[in-house]
Symmetry: C2
Subunit: 354 residues, 2 copies
DNA sequence: CTACGTTGAATTAACGATACGTCACCGAAG
DNA sequence: CTTCGGTGACGTATCGTTAATTCAACGTAG
């Protein structure tokens, strides 16, 4: 690898000039002819600045890390996109990490945090990062921005409460009275439940308790099963986690519940997959791309010493994408939903889950 | 941030001793008491080695990059896991990149490739990396290992041909005669088609042409639609890309085709999602975890100057996970359908995912 | 009693890039 | 003929680590 020294020799100038050409420094001036001579030499030698040396000298790396809870959750696609694009704007490279990589003793965390490998960190842990990790995160000098509500740290988030409200109100408007919320754990689903509660309240309906079964497909299936065991079976369901919606559909199929005829389903977070399920799932699209972009901007504010620009992203608002999994309830139709408890248990036994 | 110099001053020793303590160098010897004194000083000051300085000095970073075609494709979950674990074994950190980040002009590629940000690169582009990117990849000095078949570079891959063969033979054993292959583009699906072809040939059946519709849910839907337009409609289908299977299910639903009663479906690559679809999808599980692990090992061979250890991963073999999307065809007619009996096949039954 | 090996540690030269301070040169103004 | 300001470029300290080299002190063997 050619170094600046090599380039300098080849161009017949000093190191300083090469550096100035590379960085466009105004401090060191030079003739245009000198500049092109250096440029040519750089090209001929295939010169590439050494990242380590640069980082050492400048005490910044041009890299930021983003740590996500489940990297292959499709809701993160647009988030990543937003982060990448905003980072590119700052000339930065993004180092992606999965929270599962961050178990104690992992090189990843330590290296990131304390060794100055990155200039700052974005974290979206979905409330699942354990206290050890959070403590380690906060014990180090580099700026951290949390991409969800955080009590005493800079944060920025999407409006999860509003999403829960939108999903619920949509079902209320479809004349559903017995709407249940299948949630996960942590602050995020708590917020969505709050929105659900609010929509129910303002419609004069009694909110059902938060069925917190966790994340992912299995959680959705469990949630639906629990919901159907209530005294009055729900006619509609708001699913906190979008991947849980897949589980809700599967469990409904297994229990012989037709969607949307017997049960309407609305998910929170919209992903491509939803339009390819049958029935295609009605979902609330969240501004994840904007979250990513805004997150990077806020992080760079932090890096620059400015603080502040955080809070909820309100533009665009969460947006309902109507597909086929929710339908209007005929006000007279509540009675002709057949769901005898005995047959339900039989069905459950027929298909034990792994 | 405390430096080695600070530690040295605090412990009353020289820089060299601190460095020796940090690295456990045998070259510089010291009294045990000195060692502990240095260790205590390090703790008190919260010393953390500076990554940039270290990289500069050693000319290696302890980071490797892995570039994947679609980061949120769930088939990559186990791959990442394998890579992370093997990398941890080498004390390395993994920098994850999506191929979409690598469009021309991206900081990511350049920084990675030429500026010595990483010690080596793993790439799985699913044949979708364009020539520019590949050219740029190969024009730089750091070792690259391709996680798929590559003509003139170190590579390591899973046995895609065998996967196509296993999927097809399973359907042949279920007495299907009209089996069609819905594929994607590129070498990987080509290999799977070859396996399909081989299984068809050895069963004395005529292979259908490769329906290459691409990747993802939509591709599956398109593929099925094309397949159903043939003179004789297929009774079974092998789906190249696992996410395409979702689209196949959706399209079948839309076309009023019952799965598995009217059409049997087997996917290649098994992911959690498959067991949560209805019907749950029978799929060939590929050793992605092993691919990741072996990839890192081979990459470190390359870094160490050793070359060789590449080729197909044959242990474990691709393995069929039987679920509900494929059923036996009665030779007397499509009306008498029988669920697959264990005696009918030599394949294994579904096992829980690790 | 001296030469020598061993132990325990200090000095110091890179690694590559950056930016501050310096300086030679030249034309023009005083 | 100086002095001055501007231009164009050079030297070099510095970032934090590592490892080769050097070195002082101390036993011990001859």
């Amino acid at each position: 690898m050619a170094t600046q020294r090599d380039v300098a020799r080849a161009a017949g100038v000093s190191l300083a000039v090469v550096s100035a050409v590379v960085n466009g420094t105004s401090h060191t001036r030079m003739r245009e002819s000198t500049r092109t001579r250096v440029l040519r030499a750089m090209q001929q030698l295939g010169y590439q600045p050494n990242h380590a040396a640069r980082s050492l000298r400048l005490n910044q790396t041009g890299m930021i890390a983003m740590i996500l809870n489940k990297l292959d959750n499709p809701v993160y696609g647009p988030l990543r996109q937003g982060v990448y694009e905003a980072a590119a704007e700052h000339g930065a490279t993004v180092l992606l990490g999965d929270a599962e990589t961050m178990r104690s003793g992992s090189q990843f965390l330590t290296r990131l945090l304390s060794q100055g490998t990155v200039d700052g960190i974005l974290v979206r842990g979905e409330g699942l990062l354990d206290d050890d990790v959070m403590a380690e995160l906060h014990s180090h000098p580099k700026p951290i921005l949390i991409l969800e509500h955080a009590p005493d740290h800079p944060w920025i988030d999407i409006d999860d409460r509003r999403a829960g409200e939108i999903a619920t109100r949509f079902l209320v408007n479809l004349r559903h009275r017995h709407i249940v919320f299948v949630g996960g754990s942590g602050y995020i689903s708590q917020q969505r439940y709050l929105g659900y509660q609010q929509a129910m309240d303002s419609a004069g309906l009694a909110p059902a308790p938060h069925l917190a079964t966790g994340f992912g497909e299995q959680a959705g299936a469990d949630g639906l099963r629990q919901a159907m065991q209530a005294a009055t079976a729900p006619t509609a369901i708001v699913v906190n986690n979008i991947m849980s919606a897949v589980g809700v559909l599967a469990a409904a199929h297994d229990l012989g519940i037709a969607i949307p005829d017997q049960l309407s389903v609305v998910g929170i977070h919209d992903v491509d997959l939803m339009q390819h399920l049958r029935p295609a799932v009605t979902a609330v699209r969240m501004p994840m791309y904007q979250l990513g972009w805004a997150g990077v901007e806020a992080l760079y504010d932090l890096i620059a010493g400015r603080s502040g620009t955080g809070g909820l992203i309100t533009d665009p608002e969460p947006e309902l994408v109507i597909r086929d999994s929710a339908t209007a309830l005929n006000p007279a139709g509540a009675e002709n939903l057949v769901r005898p408890a005995t047959s339900l248990t039989t069905e459950i036994r027929a298909r034990p889950q792994p």
